[in-house]
Structures are given as structure tokens and as C-alpha cells.
């Protein structure tokens, strides 16, 4: 248990540190990269819980795909941080109020009195041959098949929506049409002109 605890605290610290940096650094690209760090460390914590499938998928989907596109977009935007900071002082009291309220509530909801090994039994340890990918697949396609299918439909709607909102023929853009370029005839481009030789001046 000893090493596991140390590893947990190391990664938990990285998660909290990364999350804090995400909202406090000035540079949006750096903020996005700290978010990547946070995801990575949370994946490690999931590994400690023997949820290797979720851990790897978190890295694969969030770090490997979602955040790449996110960083991609953030890099192209030139975000004016100074303008974002306008009104910071004015809204600070309200912000602090909400934050304190949330903190109090979080402490009440997930406070220490609800947790501990005496309240919730430690999860069963499985052997090395235990395959939780198989388990998740099993339950996802049987017990939760209906929500799973609905989630798939939601993704389909998202695809349809994204395409209908972005795909459009813009009449002003100029595109290369290779088939027309290849089919072009000499007569269309070159005009042979016959003229008599002129005298040099």
C-alpha cells in the first residue's frame, strides 16, 4: 500500500497543480498544455484504480485527439488577454462569492465524513489476468445497450449539424480543377500570329 499511496499523491498533486495553472497562466497555449498535463495525470490515477481501459482511452481521446485540435485552434487565434481581463476587479467580489459557495457545497457533498474504508469497502483487487476491457464491453453492449445506442445517435446528429453548418459552396473562392487543366487544348491558350518581320530601328 505504501508505494501506491505515494504514487497517488504525486499524481493527485500534478492534477491539482495542472488544473490551477490552466486557469491562472496568461498564455492560452500554455493553458491548453497544462490541461493536457492534467488529463495525463488523471489517467495515471485511473490506472491506480485498475481501470486501465478508461485511463488509456482518456489519453487516446482527450490528449491525443481533442486537445490536439484545441491547441491547434488556440494557436491560430490571437487572443487579447488584456481585453479579457477588463472588468476583472469589478466582478471579483461576485466571483469570490460564487467560488466560496461552491467550495462550501463541495465540502458538504464530498466531505470526509462520507468516505473512508469504514463507509465504503475497498474495491476488490483483481489478478493480472483480469481483463476490464472485456468487462466494460460486456456490460456496455448488454445492460446499457439502449443508452449506448442513443449516445451513438447523438454523435450522428453532431456530425450532421457540423456538416450542415460548415459545408457550403463559396462562389468567390478559386479552386484548382485538375480535370479541366488536363483537358485544355493548345488552341484555347495559344494564338498563332503571323506577322512580317520588322525592320530594326
Amino acid at each position: 500500500m505504501g508505494t501506491e499511496k505515494i504514487i497517488f499523491y504525486i499524481f493527485a498533486f500534478i492534477v491539482v497543480f495542472g488544473a490551477t495553472m490552466v486557469i491562472s497562466v496568461r498564455n492560452p497555449v500554455k493553458a491548453a498544455l497544462y490541461l493536457v498535463l492534467t488529463f495525463f495525470a488523471s489517467a495515471a490515477i485511473w490506472l491506480l484504480l485498475e481501470a486501465e481501459f478508461l485511463a488509456i482511452v482518456l489519453v487516446l481521446v482527450y490528449v491525443g485527439a481533442v486537445m490536439v485540435l484545441f491547441v491547434f485552434v488556440v494557436m491560430m487565434l490571437d487572443i487579447n488577454v488584456a481585453r479579457l481581463k477588463e472588468g476583472f476587479i469589478r466582478y471579483l467580489p461576485l466571483g469570490i462569492g460564487v467560488a466560496v459557495l461552491m467550495a462550501v457545497m463541495m465540502i458538504m457533498v464530498v466531505g470526509p465524513e462520507y468516505f473512508g474504508l469504514d463507509k465504503i469497502a475497498a474495491p476488490e483487487r483483481h489478478g493480472a489476468d483480469y481483463n476490464n476491457i472485456r468487462e466494460i464491453g460486456g456490460i456496455l453492449y448488454t445492460v446499457y445497450v439502449y443508452p449506448f445506442e442513443i449516445a451513438a445517435v447523438i454523435l450522428l446528429v453532431a456530425i450532421v449539424a457540423a456538416i450542415v453548418l460548415t459545408l457550403r459552396r463559396r462562389p468567390n473562392t478559386r479552386q484548382q480543377r485538375p480535370e479541366e487543366q488536363i483537358a485544355v487544348k493548345r488552341g484555347e491558350r495559344v494564338r498563332m500570329v503571323k506577322m512580317s518581320a520588322e525592320e530594326r530601328k
Partner: protein, 359 residues
Amino acid sequence: MIEWIQSVFSILPEALQTLVVILLKIVAIVLPLMLCVAYLTYAERKIIGAMQVRLGPTRVGPRGLLQPIADAVKLMFKEIVIPAGANKLLFIIAPILSIGPALAAWAVIPFDVELVLADINAGLLYVLAVTSIGVYGVIIAGWASNSKYALLGTMRAAAQIVSYEIAMGFALVGVLMASGSLNLGEIVAAQSGSFFHWFWLPLLPLFFIYFISAVAETNRAPFDVAEGESELVAGFHVEYSGMVFAVFFLAEYANMILVSGLAVIMFLGGWLSPFQGLPQAVFSIPLLGAVLDNGIHWFLIKISVFLFLFLWFRATFPRYRYDQIMRLGWKVFIPVTIVWLLLLGVAVLAGLPPWFDAV
């Protein structure tokens, strides 16, 4: 001497012992890998030279054999120039993020039946996840350099890698369906039988798509628009010099070897011998039998074939245009993989022999 080491080792606490063993294993993988990378660059220059009727390197050492070493030494002593206005920390981190995943993925690659560093049951997913991180090296390098060429290269690379990862992932799903396991060792084991039992045959379109996507993922010709010398000078690593440039270089070649290795494991039966299925008597012939039998040498030979393909592509194909790359990835590869996955599902359900009748 050996006894002394053993006695020191046994004094260590158990956790530390495991750590030492793992570290030694890592060294045992990484050192030969780095050597391979070095001589891959030599092979590249020689092979492309031969294809273009040139000689390639000849001066350093016999037949130019010491050329990679000389290059490495040269790069090590060059100054690392950090451009003005660059983000220093990220500028240095970028090459590390590039090579880290390329090496980390080797942890789950099985070289032979029991010869693997970490035999985890989600090996395929792990490889996919780890290699997907590599793109951060390219992105951060381009952004931190504070250079327009680097940034343009980065934009191209990021879009390209993300696009091809989808096709690659689908191809891997096909392998997963065919073998019924995510463990790379079991995937190889599922292909045993003969040359025609390997998955290249039932998954032929996926095999091609995987390998072409792999070329695109590693930013190699003809998909090297991210570097595109004639357009972007050198793309994302234009501002890098000396050892940091060398690290990018190492990462690219290590990735080439990695994706070749994965292609071998998933489609060409890893360490399995193509002569499997011959009568037992053949394998009992001394020496020749051992060569013909399954073993790590087959794995290495198959990888070399793929690496040769990489070099061959570079020597022969002109660079793809950017929009054509995107079209190929999204409009050709992804639909083909989806259709093939459907067919594959039917085949697996029907237990099509000789591949899917075991389960």
C-alpha cells in the same frame, strides 16, 4: 565480479530490485534501437544513392560505415540556437515530447514469445494512445519557435496526423476483431499456422491503409508536407540546431521502426516463420531448422523489409499536395476501413476458415 554484483543486488529492497530490473530491460531495448536508428540513416543514404545511381557516403570509415557516428558527434558539439522571441521552455521540451512516445511505445512490443517488457492486456490501445502523443512535439516545436515557416509546418502536421490517426485506429480495430485480443502477443499467436494464416490476407485493405497511414503519421515522403523543404524550408524544425535537432531526427526514425514493427506484429505474424506448417522433420535439421523455425530473426527481417519500403517511397514518389492528402485520408481511407470492418464482422461471425474458425 558477477558474484559481487549479485550480492549487491540482493541487498537492495525488493521495490528497488524491480526498478533496477526494469531499467536494465529498458536499456536493453533502447540501446540497440538507437544503434538501428543511426544505421537506418546510413542505409537511407546508401539505398537512395543506389537508386539514383550515386554512391552515398563513402569517406568516413570503411565504405562510409562510420558516417552516422561522425554525424552524431558533429551534431552534439553544435550550438543550440534559441531564436529571439521563442518560448524557451517549450522550445526545449518539444523534441523531448517527440522522442518520448516513440521510445515508450516499445514497452509493449513483443520480440518473441516471452520477450516483451510489459505484457499488458491493452497493448494495442496503449500503443495507439502513446503514439498519438507524439504530435505534441511537432505542434509545440512549431509554435515555440516564433517563426512563420515553423508554424505553417505545424498546422499542416497537426491536421495530417489527426486525420490519419482515425484511419489507422480503424485499421487496428480490424486487427482487434480478427484476433479477439488487444494483447500484442496474443495477436501474433492468433496468426500462427502458415504464411496464409497471417492477417495480411483477410485484412488486406486494412493492411495497406495501416501502412500508408503509418507513413503519413511519421511525416515521411510522400506525406512530408510538414517539412516540405521547397515550400517551408524545413517546416516545424526549421529553427532547431545541434542536439535538439538531432533528437527530432532520432524520433522520426525511431517512429519509422516502431510503425514497421507494429505492421509486422499485426499483419505479418510478428516472430512467426513463413515456413510454419512444413513437416516437423524440417525443423529438426540442425542450424537450418533453427533458422526456419519461429524466432526473433523473422521479426527483424520483416521490419527491415518495411523500412526498405519507407526508403523506396522517398526515392520514388513526388510529394502529395496538402488537399490531396486530406482527401485521401478522409474520403478514401475512412470509408474503405468502415466497409471492410462490416465485412470482417460478418466473416468473424460466420467463422470463416482458416482465420476465424478457431474461436
